[in-house]
């Protein structure tokens, strides 16, 4: 394979010879493998490797970006990025200052998942698939397993040289049950920062998932309207990601005066019990890293503290333009894209309520668990549950068809009136923004209760 370290060292010298306010480059080599099942049989198994890089240049506030698979003529590519930036730039370049870093960061795991044999991976997936198929009335299964390992070299005209390695594993299992023309599905998503053992021992969860898909065939659909809703830690994690996390990404805010007025620090969003954090600095989660893709060290950032907006996520440019400190949240999914402001590991801090206290005084409400997906427009957001139950007279009652819930950022967070003591991080998700998806992130929360939540239904 091509030696990207040698190329990186040459490039570090070359960056100095161009006239731009700032230039950075990333070189990346990656290996990935996937195994998918549709139905009883393994459907597809494959391996892929990629080597490539990019150069990003800043001239008078304008950016040029060049990405490539071919590592020949790198000076020509730097020149192109600078030329493009010059076409754009008409003002002053602003980047929050960071100390140049020289560092080599190895992946934190004992074993690169790509070194585990396909046979071992297949054996585990075979076990899960067999469990799904043991369930009566089950129509089919879909299993998608993927792992990757990559090394990224970051270097900048201000003298940074950072090598970082990371691995990632994602597994999604789906059970599909049918009866007549009714089709119901339930999914389970697990991910990890490359530790293969994290997907061991899911047998019981897989079995339950398949049974639940069959149960849904006879489950009623909720009547649409406003409900008191209780979210489990997994779905509450998706909720915090969609309902608030994206609005904290300052690239939406920094050049939009109206949004800056709304998102003014100190604005009240929720009760004093509500604390929301994003932190890439927690080790070992899917959104964790030591340096972001601009070479900025990871931080722990409180977004909401005691119900008030106290922080937001930044790239070097958004931090400079808003007069705030960089938070190390500029991430790119791979070398074909420039870094943009992204979440990492986002969670609601635990409160004090037990699950029984949370549902105890609900006469009629909805308990929503697990996720299908979620999306946001900044103001409005939707998120969908994988499993749903009615709550009647303080107790969990009949299973319902999965629901889509919606809310408004500026009112829904205020309607959270109970926060559980049982924080759990969910590593099964991927985040999409622009064309860059799925980016590994994790979300988490304890159980939470939301009053007046709008639920779609019949």
């Amino acid at each position: 394979m091509t030696d990207i370290e040698a190329i990186g060292r040459q490039l570090a010298e070359a960056l100095k010879g161009f006239s731009a306010d700032y230039i950075e480059a990333r070189l990346e080599e990656s290996q990935r493998s996937h195994i998918t099942y549709r139905g009883k049989e393994l459907e597809s198994v494959g391996q892929a490797t990629a080597i490539g890089g990019n150069v990003r240049a800043l001239v008078r506030g304008g950016w040029g970006f060049v990405s490539f698979d071919s590592l020949s003529d790198l000076p020509g590519r730097i020149e192109l990025a600078v030329k493009q930036a010059r076409l754009v730039g008409k003002e002053e370049s602003k980047l929050a200052p960071v100390e140049p870093v020289v560092d080599i960061v190895s992946s934190e795991i004992d074993k690169n998942p790509l070194t585990i044999s396909l046979a071992e991976k297949k054996q585990l997936l075979d076990e899960y698939n067999a469990l799904i198929w043991r369930t009566p009335k089950l129509q089919t299964s879909i299993i998608v397993y993927g792992d990757s390992h990559k090394k990224v070299i970051f270097l900048s005209s201000s003298g940074s040289y950072i090598e970082q390695e990371r691995s990632d594993i994602a597994l999604r299992l789906t059970a599909v049950a049918t009866e007549g023309s009714e089709v119901q599905q339930v999914g389970l998503s697990i991910g990890s920062r490359g530790d293969f053992s994290s997907i061991h021992g899911l047998h019981q969860q897989v079995e339950q998932m398949a049974k639940h898909a069959v149960e849904l065939l006879s489950a009623p659909q909720v009547k649409g309207g406003e409900y008191t809703v209780v979210l489990d830690p997994v779905l509450a994690g998706v909720f915090v990601h969609e309902a608030f996390g994206h609005l904290s990404e300052s690239d939406f805010v920094y050049e939009n005066d109206r949004l800056r007025q709304i998102m003014v620090l100190g604005r009240k969003f929720g009760s004093t019990e509500l604390n929301i954090v994003d932190s890439a600095a927690i080790p070992g989660l899917r959104g964790s890293y030591k340096y972001d893709d601009e070479g900025v060290p990871a931080t722990k950032t409180y977004l909401i503290r005691e119900g008030e907006l106290v922080g937001r996520l930044h790239s070097r440019e958004t931090a400079a333009k808003m007069g705030e400190k960089p938070t190390g949240n500029a991430r790119a999914i791979n070398y074909r894209y420039p870094p943009i402001v992204r979440m990492t590991n986002t969670y609601i801090e635990p409160g004090s309520a037990s699950f029984d206290q949370i549902i105890g005084d609900i006469k009629e409400g909805v308990y929503a668990k697990n996720w299908f997906g979620g999306t946001t427009s900044m103001e409005m957001f939707t998120f969908s549950a994988g499993e749903t139950y009615m709550i009647r007279h303080g107790k969990l009652a009949e299973a319902l068809r999965p629901v889509v819930l919606t809310g408004n950022v500026f009112t829904t967070l205020n309607n959270i009136d109970a926060i559980g003591d049982d924080l759990e991080m969910n590593q099964g998700g991927g985040c999409g923004k622009g064309a860059q998806m799925p980016l590994p992130v994790s979300n988490g929360s304890p159980h939470i209760r939301i009053r007046h939540c709008l639920v779609g239904g019949r």
Binding site: M1, Q139, V183, G224, E226, V404, T406, G456
Partner: protein, 432 residues
């Protein structure tokens, strides 16, 4: 590529090499001004082999490392699915024009000017709107060769012009947008701007929706995000083969309203999703899916077709793995009713442009449910304003069983769908 094929043939009964290279230039505007110019070069090659009857697959961006690619494919073939198809020996394909050399001569300066004009048209209508715009051009080359002598290659040009605007008043946010694409350069920003201006006009006033069953008109964008995802899953030959498609055993039966006609068409000249052949080298064809409400066909690639004892429809598509059946461009036939006539017909109802979250439920079962991100209330035959905080839910098989009317004005949405508005009798609406 020939070198990879030759090496693969030494260790496998069959082999196929697929290569895509692209050069793309996106010009991006943020907060109403030019922000970012990019240039993206990419080349990747994928190898599919049949070894001891089983499929192996590997891909790389490193063209020089043929041996590693072949070794990776051989390793996966131990576990791969038995290959049930034969690679095509085809070398002649229909003439489908998807390359316009004019794309090459469009300068970055011209692209910047297009974006600036587009933003100016929107901001002169609504000065406090904040827009992001993107002008993109690209050239993509495809080549496929296989061990049966089959081979195909073509070049495609792509040009895109799009804008998204946000208008914020207090904590109230309105999002409008439109994007268009073609294999020809798009030189008329007005065509894009006019769509956005109309959205801004219709959304000027606010209206409230009740919680009850209401008739709904889905605009082309509304059709794309609420009704199409379930249909794409249901007409996929793989879903059908697994028995997970609600219409899988209803071929030849009338499942939808007789006014509904839907087909897949990769043969329309100069459309970004058109192509002379699919990603397995099977010639492109137009495939009817719904004819007069009747289920006419499903979409297949080679392997799925062989498993289902039928023929590939030329819908083998790759996105980072083995080919899978996937639609190219879906077309819904226009009807006779104008949008104005539909609106005039409604006493109380909604027009839906965008339903956020609609693709996140039980798509296989046909369910959709979403928040009306952009939609309007109709009262006594007139659009009276924008609705918010409103969920609309339905099941595509119930909604499309009896539609009131299919619109006469069809439009491309996102390059993958050409549809008129569709007017449906009753959907469940829940509002705050």
């Amino acid at each position: 590529m020939e070198n990879i094929l030759a090496q693969a043939k030494k260790v496998a009964e069959e082999a196929e090499v697929f290569m895509v290279s692209s050069e793309e230039t996106p010009v991006q505007f943020e907060a109403n001004r030019l922000k970012h110019i990019q240039s993206k070069q990419s080349t990747s090659v994928a190898l599919r082999i049949v070894r001891q009857g089983r499929l192996g697959y590997a891909a790389t961006t490193e063209l020089s490392d043929a041996q590693n690619l072949v070794d990776n494919a051989v390793e996966t073939a131990q576990f791969g699915m038995p290959a049930r198809f034969e690679l095509p020996s085809t070398t002649s394909y229909p003439q489908i024009d998807v390359f316009d050399p004019d794309i090459e001569s469009i300068s970055i300066g011209e692209m910047i000017k297009l974006g600036e004009e587009l933003i100016a048209m929107v901001t002169s209508h609504t000065p406090d709107i904040v827009c992001e715009a993107m002008v993109t051009k690209g050239i993509i080359s495809f080549r496929i060769i296989n061990s049966r002598g089959g081979q195909a290659n073509y070049r495609k040009s792509i040009f895109g012009l799009g804008i998204e605007g946000s208008l914020i008043r207090g904590t109230d946010m309105l999002f409008v947008g439109e994007s268009q694409s073609s294999c020809h350069p798009l030189t008329q920003p007005k065509a894009v701007a006019e769509v956005v201006l109309q959205q801004l006009e219709l959304a000027k006033n606010r209206a409230s929706a009740p919680t009850k069953q209401l008739p709904v008109i889905f605009t082309p964008r509304g059709v794309a995000n609420a009704l199409i995802p379930p249909l794409m899953a249901a007409f996929n030959g793989k879903t059908v083969l697994e028995g997970a498609s609600p219409i899988g055993n209803r071929l030849g039966q009338t499942v939808f309203d007789p006014k509904l006609w839907l087909w897949d068409d990769p043969t329309i000249a100069y459309r970004p999703n058109s192509r002379p052949c699919d990603d397995e080298g099977i010639p492109s064809q137009r495939t009817p899916l719904i004819e007069q409400g009747t289920v006419a066909n499903f979409l297949y690639d080679l392997q799925t077709a062989a498993q289902a004892h039928t023929k590939s429809t030329g819908n083998g598509s790759r996105s980072g793995g083995l080919p899978v059946p996937s639609p190219t461009a879906l077309i819904i036939a226009p009807g006779k009713t104008t949008l104005d006539e539909m609106v005039n017909d409604i006493k109380e109802g909604l027009v839906i442009e965008q339903l956020m979250g609609a693709g996140q439920g039980n798509v296989l079962g046909g369910d959709f449910s979403g928040n009306v991100l952009l939609g309007y209330k109709v009262e006594s035959g007139k659009i009276v304003g924008r609705v918010k905080d409103t969920m609309v839910s339905g099941n595509v098989y119930q909604v499309l069983k009896e539609v009131i009317a299919i619109g006469s004005e069809a439009k491309w949405v996102g390059g993958f769908l050409n549809t008129p508005p569709i007017y449906c009798p009753g959907l469940s609406v829940a509002s705050k």
